[in-house]
């Protein structure tokens, strides 16, 4: 890689960020591998451990909600695959966001000694959660086959959902990483905001039970469009409208661009606080 450095060179934010990610692709690969390896090395269950968490979460929710709703949703689809698809997506979102936002403060030990573009850490954080999501898809496929919902022929389009989510959580993570370093109390604020976003999206309830007003709010949540599109393309357990597709693509691109911009501008003044 070209390693000449001139602090006076004019930064070109987007070109520099993408080049940095490209130049450090080997490091990103290693960081993602390390992340997954560390996660499963600690337990005797191995790789299953990464799946156990969303599976158990789904199981608990399933027990709770099966008593409220029946095993089938109002439109006749099975509740279990609907629920698990929701939990998987939201796990990707929350853990991807948390890891991406935390990665830079946690990497302070490295970032203050060796030159690593910090965006590399944030991106690796989201990427390793995308890999976890992929593992989860295998489990979801099994559940969908058992309940008889099957897998849609459009399932490969899930890759588009993954790319959008990657951009979305990386963008958000980069923005919030700056706040996490600058202000100690922002962590708890974002914890609350994220759970707010979770409950205002149809993870474990069908949209049909919502009142008109609540539906407007839930649909305004970008997370809802991800859930709709993913459920629709994977096993047709949800309805994805054109506006869902548009909202998902545009919000992810917007957040990604804004995140990179805010981060690159704020970083030189933030790095001294690490």
């Amino acid at each position: 890689m070209s390693q000449n450095y001139d602090s006076a060179a004019r930064p070109r934010i987007f070109r520099d960020t993408f080049l940095a990610l490209w130049h450090h692709r080997a490091l990103i690969q290693i960081l993602v591998k390390r992340d997954i390896a560390v996660r499963y090395k600690r337990s005797s269950l191995g790789l299953l451990w990464t799946l156990l968490n969303p599976l158990l979460t789904s199981l608990v929710l399933w027990f709770v909600f099966i008593t409220i709703f029946s095993a089938r949703l109002p439109d006749g689809t099975q509740f279990a695959p609907y629920l698990f698809a929701g939990v998987l997506t939201v796990t990707f979102f929350t853990q991807g966001f948390n890891q991406s936002a935390d990665s830079i403060a946690q990497g302070a030990g490295i970032l203050t000694k060796v030159y690593i573009p910090p965006q590399v850490l944030a991106f690796s954080g989201s990427l390793s959660n995308a890999v976890n999501f992929l593992f989860g898809l295998v489990a979801l496929a099994v559940i969908s086959l058992i309940t008889g919902d099957g897998i849609s022929i459009e399932a490969p389009l899930t890759i588009f959902v993954i790319i959008c989510m990657l951009m979305y959580v990386t963008g958000l993570g980069l923005m919030v990483a700056i706040l996490y370093i600058r202000y100690d109390d922002t962590r708890s604020i974002f914890g609350i905001l994220i759970s707010f976003m979770m409950y205002l999206s149809p993870i474990f309830y069908p949209k049909e039970i919502l009142s008109e007003r609540m539906l407007t709010i839930v649909n305004a949540n970008p997370l809802t469009s991800y859930l709709d599109v993913f459920r629709h393309v994977f096993s047709n357990t949800g309805v994805a409208t054109t506006s869902d597709w548009l909202y998902m693509s545009l919000s992810s691109a917007f957040i990604f661009v804004i995140g990179i911009r805010i981060f690159s501008r704020a970083w030189p003044k933030t790095v001294v606080m690490l």
């Binding site: 000449n4 001139d6 080997a26 290693i30 390896a37 203050t112 100690d184 001294v272």
Partner: protein, 242 residues
């Protein structure tokens, strides 16, 4: 000779905030009350020097003079607030060796991870990992998790990785004394070898005897400013007489 490191009038200003832990709440309240503005501290003030290939520059000065900030500037970790920093080639920082190591991974996995953090290719690191372990006398434990290592073993491994291949620019922060007496001798020998090569070396140390024998020139920094810069013995003599 080519200048691998060139600093031109470089300054770094830190903003120091009042209060123990900066919170958003406090910051908002303070800005509403318009009280206690941040204090600005110039850690480095108009520093100019260059290091050519094959030269060893020693940085001396009291604690808090700005030596660590200077190393961060050279490691590209900090951008200068004003002035210019230019570096040609790859930088190998030997600063607090072991940053980036992970206890759950094996020694070998850590060698690859650390080497990649330093900008080398993972494949190259994998093929070099045996000789790196051998040099650090850790052949037997290289495939055990790093958490089973003693701190001395970790430091030896980190040193072995960092010095495995010469980089164009080498930054050293008091790492000449790693491990037991025998290893110290070995590592000093290796450092000398590296210093005799074509790299541009910046060495921060309080060990003036080592500096005299290793460095070709020196820079004395005091309160962020260059007090004296030039041939190593003349700078050291002024520093000692100050």
């Amino acid at each position: 000779m080519s200048k691998l490191i060139e600093l031109t009038n470089a300054s770094v200003t830190y903003q120091i905030r009042h209060g123990a832990s900066p919170t958003l709440k406090e910051t908002i309240i303070r800005s509403l009350k318009r009280e206690q503005k941040d204090v600005r501290v110039k850690a480095l003030n108009g520093v100019t020097f260059d290091v050519e290939a094959g030269e060893v520059l020693a940085v001396i000065g009291r604690n808090g003079a700005g030596k660590s900030t200077l190393l961060k500037l050279l490691a590209r970790v900090l951008p200068p607030t004003s002035g210019r920093v230019q570096i040609k080639g790859s930088v190998a920082p030997m600063i607090e060796l072991g940053a980036g190591f992970n206890g759950e991974l094996t020694g070998r996995e850590n060698v690859v991870l650390y080497g990649t953090l330093l900008g080398r290719s993972p494949r190259e690191m994998e093929s070099r990992s045996d000789s790196i372990a051998k040099w650090a006398d850790l052949e037997e434990s290289i495939d055990l998790p790093l958490r089973t290592y003693s701190s001395g073993m970790v430091a030896k491994l980190a040193f072995s990785v960092a010095t495995d291949v010469p980089s164009e620019v080498i930054l050293v922060d008091e790492v000449l004394s790693v491990g037991d007496a025998e290893f110290q001798k070995k590592s000093k020998e290796r450092m000398r070898e590296l210093f005799r090569g074509k790299s541009a070396v910046v060495l921060v140390s309080h060990d003036l005897e080592s500096i005299r024998s290793l460095a070709t020139k020196a820079i004395w920094i005091d309160h962020g400013r260059v007090k004296k810069y030039g041939e190593v013995n003349s700078v050291l003599d002024s520093y000692l007489n100050a």
